[in-house]
Symmetry: none
Subunit: 216 residues, 4 copies
DNA sequence: AATGAATGAGGGTTCATTCAT
DNA sequence: AATGAATGAACCCTCATTCAT
């Protein structure tokens, strides 16, 4: 599964070639460590061509981050919608979906979570707003579970944060070549999230098949 | 609590001034984003002076990372030693100590966890070895709990990883000005770690006082 | 009074739009400081469109300069013709006309007098020839006055040069919003020119009305 | 006579080498037309070395302009002081000195009078203040002559402006290889200035010798 | 121990211009 | 007549580093 940017406004092929190259470079060398020349070379174009699509290297980073975060939010909302009203199903679904998404584009996930510092103040602010929106989806989810007495954690806030962090950072170690499929990992993390909020002491959902997760 | 570098070979005062400046710069602007001039200026010396203490900017980064990781390991080992044989107490203690350590130097923690990419291949390899050593302390801890039937998680490996990640990344959001003391946060995370491995459904350790934690 | 380019070969409207934009840009930012993009944008066309009318940015500059200088010469010749044989009337008329012309298009005048350096060697040579032709009109005028004993300056050459310079550079400070009309200024400069060559010690021509000058 | 910068704070030799090179480049190719590499090459240093002395190319231009204008003002004030109270002697002296100064460094004079556009807004403002101060020295001089009835021009303001312009722009055509010495030219322009304000109809000061002018 | 001057390489970005459409 | 995409060269400037003093 690769990043879908059907929802973004930039379908021009030249543009996508550049973003993909940027993701590879930023992932390997970081934003500051990647020169525009590096990116252009990786994309197979001249440095100047890059400036047809993006006003600056910073713009390129911001576009990449914004789109990844927008998808993170969209997917989490979808997962919550699909899960129905049960807090257990909701948290499980959200965590599972979040792991899947981050595992699906390890490079982008890594960039989004380590290059915040490289954003200009204005862009950073905008990004943090998106990050907060995502966190709040999980916060609400956990709070509801606590209110209904289904989750027993005394610290919904910390637990919610820990859930997002641990799911997000699956991208730090997940490799396609590893022993577990993304679906299996996501399923386990779904249950670990429930553990964390004091909702269950063991697996209660069906193990994943290739069709059952995230609508696929 | 500030970084102790008693164990490092660099007790010369000039050296510490530079490391401190580097931490501030790398934290704010990242490694590639910080010029040697920036660091020197922050330290109140000339760029050339910096080369009396470090052979290169890369050396400075590596020194900083190595020492932070060495302390991470030392402290975790200390915590395990103090906890005695009980798996619950051991995991609680290790997690608690790890949170405290990362909250005690948010800037260094951040650098260590986001500038791995900026290390030269040789240095990176060395760093990953340290990171693995630390992870293994938690892995062993969780495995023992599972073996003894005290922890009920079916996925000790994933759980252990999640514990380290969630404790480490407390540095991402913790601010001294926040409502919770580091000790309170560490105490909660200790319990959340137990939750995650299926060891408890609520607080079972004494709440922290300012003297009870980490030997202080 | 605006630049008439009836005499130039470029009557196509698209062309004039571009020249006008170029004048604005070169005036504000200089030739080297104005990018083809700047000019195109100011003209409301694409950079590529510009190349339908001009082979290069240099061509655009040269066209602009050449036409302005051609008009400078034409107008001076006209003024001399209208003035008749009297050296006093001739110098007065030429100076007056030259001031009027330069005040009528301050921007072009400025460009013509400060971007000579930006011309290619071949173009520069051609421009200097035009400039010399213009200067010679005044030189002849002053010499005749001296020969006839009407002008008393011992240095006709320097005086003639000074007259042209001082009239030309009215464009440096003249603004439409100023207290004096171009006609009033031109009238005064006509007299100052006479002063300079030692022909008079005060106003001797009729003050300007809006119809009396330059045939308008 | 070359620019003396004894009065400036920059006596470091490296600095002067760079300024001299900049003057040559800006004179030949203009500010925008001269690359930092051009200047550095002309000075025999690396482009980077240039940034030890100047923060930017703009700074270099501004320094050059400011110092030239400061000298213009100083020298004019000196000339007025030396001339004593007689308006005729004062205007003659000021014009003569101004011609000499501009002829002494044709390149700098040219730059100062054609690169105002290339100054940043803040720098431009500062430069214009200097230019106004200089102009006011001549304005006052002419006004005094008119008040005392020694100068008969009805337009002191225009005349004063014309005097400065014609003296300044001697640098446009003066070449060391020409037939007239700077002193001879300055002497003639002194008289032409008097002509312009209606003070004399012919030479009244002693012709120049190599020791009599400007204190030399 | 520390500096000021210097450097070669490379940074992000803009340039005038071309060309298929 | 006009465009959008593309380019190679060059732009100003900053980089990490060196070295004589």
């Amino acid at each position: 599964m690769t990043r879908d940017n059907a929802s973004s406004g930039s379908r021009r092929p030249g543009r996508q070639v550049i973003v993909d190259a940027a993701v590879r470079c930023f992932y390997k060398q970081g934003y500051e460590g990647s020169s525009v020349r590096d990116i252009a070379e990786d994309a197979g174009v001249t440095p100047a061509a890059l400036y047809h699509y993006y006003a600056s290297k910073q713009d390129l980073l911001m576009d990449l981050i914004t789109r990844f975060m927008a998808s993170s939010i969209d997917r989490t909302e979808d997962a919550l919608r699909r899960a129905g009203p049960d807090p257990v199903a909701r948290l499980f679904g959200a965590a599972q979906s979040h792991v899947l998404w981050n595992a699906s584009d390890v490079a982008s996930s890594f960039i989004v979570n380590s290059e915040i510092r490289s954003l200009s103040p204005a862009n950073r602010e905008q990004h943090i707003a998106q990050r907060d929106r995502l966190q709040r989806l999980f916060d609400t989810c956990v709070e509801e579970g606590c209110d209904k007495g289904v989750f027993t954690t005394p610290w919904p806030h910390e637990a919610s944060r820990a859930v997002v962090v641990m799911c997000t950072f699956v991208a730090r170690w997940y490799r396609e070549s590893g022993p577990l499929s993304p679906e299996e990992i996501a399923w386990r993390y779904g249950h670990m999230a429930l553990s964390l909020v004091g909702a269950s002491r063991g697996p209660q959902f069906e193990p994943p098949t290739y069709e059952s997760v995230n609508g696929r």
